[in-house]
């Protein structure tokens, strides 16, 4: 039960930060999303995001900031193995499932519905 509560509080907290960025600082949704991705990437670079996922589970792994963390982790992992070229090939290593899912489900949605207003 405690796990659910922590996930709710941390995940909800990240969403509150996003909402404040839009409502108070008048950032566009795109700016808000990119900022959260960059924050996740920076935290990931300092090895701070994984402890957060350990602490809050899906509360930290589902929000978009986790995507930034994954980008950096993939780059660092392959950089260690393959050197400089690994930075480029590694970026989408861990995130490929998410990106492919977006493309495939987007495609399936577009087959069934009019995709563009």
């Amino acid at each position: 039960m405690e796990k659910f509560l922590l996930a709710f509080l941390v995940g909800g907290g990240i969403c509150v930060i996003g909402q404040i960025m839009m409502d108070v600082f008048k950032l566009t949704p795109a700016h808000t999303m990119c900022t959260l991705v960059v924050i996740g990437a920076i935290l990931g670079g300092f090895n701070l995001y994984d402890p957060l996922i350990k602490f809050a589970g899906a509360g930290a792994s589902v929000p978009i900031s986790s995507f930034g963390n994954s980008l950096v982790k993939g780059a660092l992992f392959e950089a260690e193995r393959d050197g400089a070229i690994g930075v480029i090939t590694g970026i989408f290593e861990i995130t490929s499932a998410g990106i492919s899912a977006a493309i495939i489900f987007g495609f399936l949605g577009a087959l069934l519905f009019k995709p563009k207003g």
């Binding site: 839009m22 409502d23 008048k26 949704p29 995709p115 563009k116 207003g117």
Partner: protein, 333 residues
């Protein structure tokens, strides 16, 4: 002729021979549904894009107006049209179909009264025996152009407004019985530095008041002269600001005679945030609802102050503020 700084008084008082309004499915559920000549069930109007649907709205309203006047397209001498699309394509492409000598107008949502003021001028000066003026807007086409893709489902603040899907038209002639255009005040741009396109009521309210005050100053008229003074699309947020400015300036409009088209067209339970907006807002409410009430004898003198937010997606990207404008037209029985 010119009176004061910026007001035209039409000596011959051109007649609004007919007027027409069309709307979409959301307007059909609104408070003024019975004042529309035609309401479309399909937001696409059978077209394959929202932009083409808007052009269709404009064509339909012009054809209905011409038919109601007992005229043919070839009888109409000049067409004055405006809309919200880039390069006013709805107007130009509707004019392509109609084949009437055409003047395109852009005053954002103030285009309705800009068109009526100019059409009345053409008829008043004898430069035209008749003139057709119309404006249109389409909710989804405007959302796409000014805000976010419609399929994106972006969050909106309470100050946002709902663009009316519809079009309004009027045909002016020199003589006959009915509502007449007696005066028009051309507004100047007032920009108070507001840059949020989801808060246009606040950006336009000062311009509306500037024009209203100029109208009374130029004509030496008291606000009580009119049964009704209606701004175009300030919405709840802008209307409240307009009332505050009027109070501060000591302008007293009798209780219940100051309203906003954007507050009238929809029902309370429709989710339109601060109210309605768009070229079609003041056009459909004036050419439908208000003129119907005048013809029934419920209103005798009205002043319509169509408000426009002259921003564009380009100006927004350059972090420019929103220039507001308002044109006022007096219609009397």
């Amino acid at each position: 002729m010119l009176q004061g700084n910026q007001t035209w008084v039409y000596d011959s008082r051109p007649l609004i021979k007919v007027s027409a309004a069309v709307g979409g499915p959301f307007e059909a559920e609104g408070a003024l549904a019975q004042d529309f000549d035609m309401l479309f069930k399909d937001i696409w109007l059978g077209q394959d894009s929202f932009e083409k649907a808007e052009k269709e709205l404009l064509e339909q309203v012009c054809e209905i107006a011409i038919r109601k006047a007992g005229l043919r397209k070839t009888d109409i001498q000049f067409l004055l049209c405006g809309d919200l699309m880039n390069q006013i394509i709805s107007s130009s492409f509707a004019a392509r179909t109609l084949g009437i000598p055409f003047l395109g107008l852009y005053g954002a949502c103030s285009s309705s009264m800009e068109g009526l003021a100019l059409a009345a001028l053409l008829v008043d000066t004898g430069f035209a025996k008749n003139a057709l003026t119309a404006t249109s807007s389409h909710n989804s086409a405007a959302e796409k152009q000014y805000r976010y893709p419609t399929e994106y489902g972006v969050q909106k603040p309470p100050s946002a407004q709902w663009t009316v899907t519809g079009a309004g038209a009027a045909i002016l002639v020199p003589e006959g019985d009915g509502p007449r255009v007696t005066a028009a005040t051309i507004g100047r741009i007032v920009d108070m530095g507001i840059s949020d396109p989801l808060n246009m009521g606040s950006a336009m309210a000062p311009a509306a008041i500037d024009t209203i005050e100029a109208h009374f100053r130029d004509l030496g008229r008291d606000p009580a002269y009119y049964d009704l003074i209606a701004t175009g699309d300030l919405g709840r947020v802008g209307h409240r600001i307009a009332n505050e400015i009027l109070n501060n300036h000591g302008v007293k409009i009798p209780q219940g005679r100051f309203t906003d088209c954007g507050l009238l067209i929809y029902n309370q339970d429709q989710p339109v945030f601060s109210g309605a907006s768009g070229c079609a807002c003041s056009a459909t409410v004036t050419y439908g609802h208000f003129l119907n009430r005048m013809r029934k004898g419920e209103l005798h003198r009205i002043l319509i102050v169509a408000t426009g937010a002259l921003l564009s997606p380009l100006s927004y990207q350059q972090k420019e503020s929103i220039p507001g404008i308002a044109h006022a037209v007096a219609i009397e029985m």
